[in-house]
């Protein structure tokens, strides 16, 4: 069984979750990754959903943060203020998964507007990037998605560079960007490529990135998913291929 590129992305995303973490996710690939983590190495990881759902037992496959499939068997059905104020701003949620139209070299995120085009906006993203200690971004690796500097900073990474996050009054953060080409990491710094996806090259990364990322001296290759991870993903977590139309295509 060989993994599709986006399946690899989900599996590598799942590996960022520690057992026992509180994790705030939306829907889509991040939710698949978090659910996979719960079914493999992190059975004690707990999900928090910005709409007010705490610790649900996810029924496949939610398409919205208020999808009844995401409210099933929860510890509590509360409010946005409880989830984003009482848990995230309170500092109890270690890991947050985020997306965005643009991610720049200092891991700032733009989900508000690109070139006059109106995007959905922050939602809980700014709150998650402001208060979680680890942010994981799963995204296709396209040049336009990785500019040197976001046209608009919706959610803070390291802002203008080292030290700026602390200067702004924000706590320390660790960012991991997982794409179909590589893994990039940053901690009060610019994003550095620390691993390549199986078969991907440094050249391909440079070609598809709007800035010139540094590469770690010891460049790892991401471990391919084991068959059980793929089975869980395909048979239990997204059996209807809601987020993997390409799987039907095959």
């Amino acid at each position: 069984m060989t993994a599709l590129p986006r399946e690899l992305l989900v599996v590598e995303g799942a590996r960022q979750i520690r057992d026992g973490d509180l994790v705030i996710v939306g829907t889509g690939l991040p939710l698949l990754a978090a659910t996979l983590a719960q079914k493999t190495h992190a059975p004690g990881a707990k999900l928090v959903i910005e709409s007010g759902v705490m610790f649900p037992k996810v029924v496949p496959t939610p398409v919205s943060v208020v999808d009844p499939r995401l409210m099933h068997g929860a510890s509590r059905h509360g409010s946005l203020f409880e989830a984003l104020g009482g848990l995230v701003q309170r500092g109890l949620v270690r890991t947050g998964f985020l997306g965005g139209a643009e991610v720049d070299q200092y891991a700032n995120i733009n989900s508000t507007t690109v070139a006059g085009k109106r995007l959905p906006g922050s939602g809980g993203a700014n709150d998650i990037a402001s208060h979680c200690s680890q942010v994981v971004i799963l995204t296709d690796h396209e040049r336009r998605r990785f500019p040197a500097r976001c046209g608009y900073v919706t959610s803070p990474g390291f802002l203008g560079g080292p030290g700026e996050r602390a200067k702004a009054g924000l706590g320390p953060l660790r960012v991991k960007v997982v794409t179909d080409l590589c893994v990039m990491e940053a901690e009060d710094s610019a994003l550095t490529v620390t691993a390549l996806m199986p078969g991907a090259t440094a050249g391909a990364v440079l070609e598809n990135t709007g800035f010139t990322p540094a590469f770690a001296d010891s460049l790892d290759t991401v471990l391919p998913p084991d068959p059980e991870e793929l089975r869980l993903l395909r048979e239990e977590i997204d059996p209807a291929c809601v987020y993997f139309p390409e799987r039907i295509a095959r």
Partner: protein, 298 residues
């Protein structure tokens, strides 16, 4: 005061041209569709629509030409895409936008709900989002006088009228919501008046044996409207799932253009929400299926 009204009476009395409308629901869940349809039928315009996530009801109001401004955390339908009418109106400059993080917006409602001029937050720091909020006068940068750290103060938001849809209410306005409540409880406590539509309206005091389970007490509710499937095609937890086919159709029309949306609205809304439901789901088979599906999910 007698609170049990029809949607037409409640909207006619409580939603005025130029109102700041606090919008209940989120994404595909518990949007106050019956009340919003009535606002469209009565053509109440010049509205500022505020909420956390704004979705289907906002897009219909914008398509109907009734909205001049929105203040929100997000405007979209997640997997079902952007709000086409809203996006076009914003890009044309016909609708102005005040962006927030969801916590910032929830904090603005909570401030007004507590009779406070603002609440502090540690979100927003260092971003263009904060700069825009400061420029529009809804946030100021501050410093914690106890610890000396930077802090943002977000201004109280008290809607002129809040519109929400709930599972149950009694005739006094005591309201029970099942599933998550998003931003709605504080928004309602903040609003000058509130209209609650509910799947079921029960006699006065129906919840008095379990007052802990009342989500919103009568003190904050001005009018109650009974409307089964009043959130259709969005979901109501434990009552019915959302109608994906309906949302996809609306989005397909929305993608084509504003003219097409206005045509869809006039072809489908009818003279009442019951008309609309009969048009979209003549025999009620879709509604039956959505109720069955929800039963299988809870």
């Amino acid at each position: 005061m007698h609170k049990l009204l029809t949607a037409s009476e409640a909207v006619g009395r409580l939603v005025a041209h130029g109102s700041v409308v606090g919008m209940g629901g989120q994404n595909i869940n518990r949007c106050p569709m019956a009340l919003v349809h009535e606002v469209i039928r009565q053509g109440v315009g010049g509205l500022t629509v505020v909420g956390c996530n704004l979705s289907l009801p906002l897009d219909m109001l914008v398509a109907a030409g009734l909205v001049v401004r929105t203040e929100q955390g997000t405007g979209n339908l997640e997997r079902y895409g952007t709000l086409f009418a809203w996006r076009r109106a914003v890009e044309r400059g016909q609708v102005t936008v005040g962006d927030h993080s969801h916590l910032a917006m929830a904090s603005r409602f909570a401030a007004a709900a507590l009779g406070l001029p603002y609440l502090p937050t540690r979100s927003l720091l260092g971003t263009d989002l904060l700069a825009d909020m400061v420029a529009s006068g809804v946030a100021v940068e501050s410093v914690d006088p106890f610890g000396g750290r930077p802090l943002v103060l977000v201004r109280a938001m008290a809607p002129d009228v809040a519109l929400i849809h709930a599972n149950r209410a009694d005739t006094l306005g005591n309201t029970v919501i099942e599933g998550v409540t998003s931003h709605e409880v504080d928004m309602v406590r903040a609003a000058k008046v509130t209209i609650v539509s509910a799947e079921e309206v029960l006699p006065a005091g129906a919840f008095a044996d379990r007052p802990e389970q009342v989500t919103i007490p009568e003190a904050y509710v001005t009018a109650v409207v009974e409307q089964p499937f009043g959130a259709f095609p969005t979901s109501v937890y434990r009552a019915y799932d959302f109608a994906e086919s309906e949302i996809k159709e609306y989005q397909a029309v929305g993608r084509t253009g504003d003219e097409e949306l206005r045509a869809w609205i006039s072809d489908n809304l009818g003279a009442s929400f019951e008309d609309y439901l009969a048009t979209r789901d003549a025999g009620g088979t879709l509604r039956g299926a959505l109720s069955d599906r929800m039963r299988s999910l809870v």
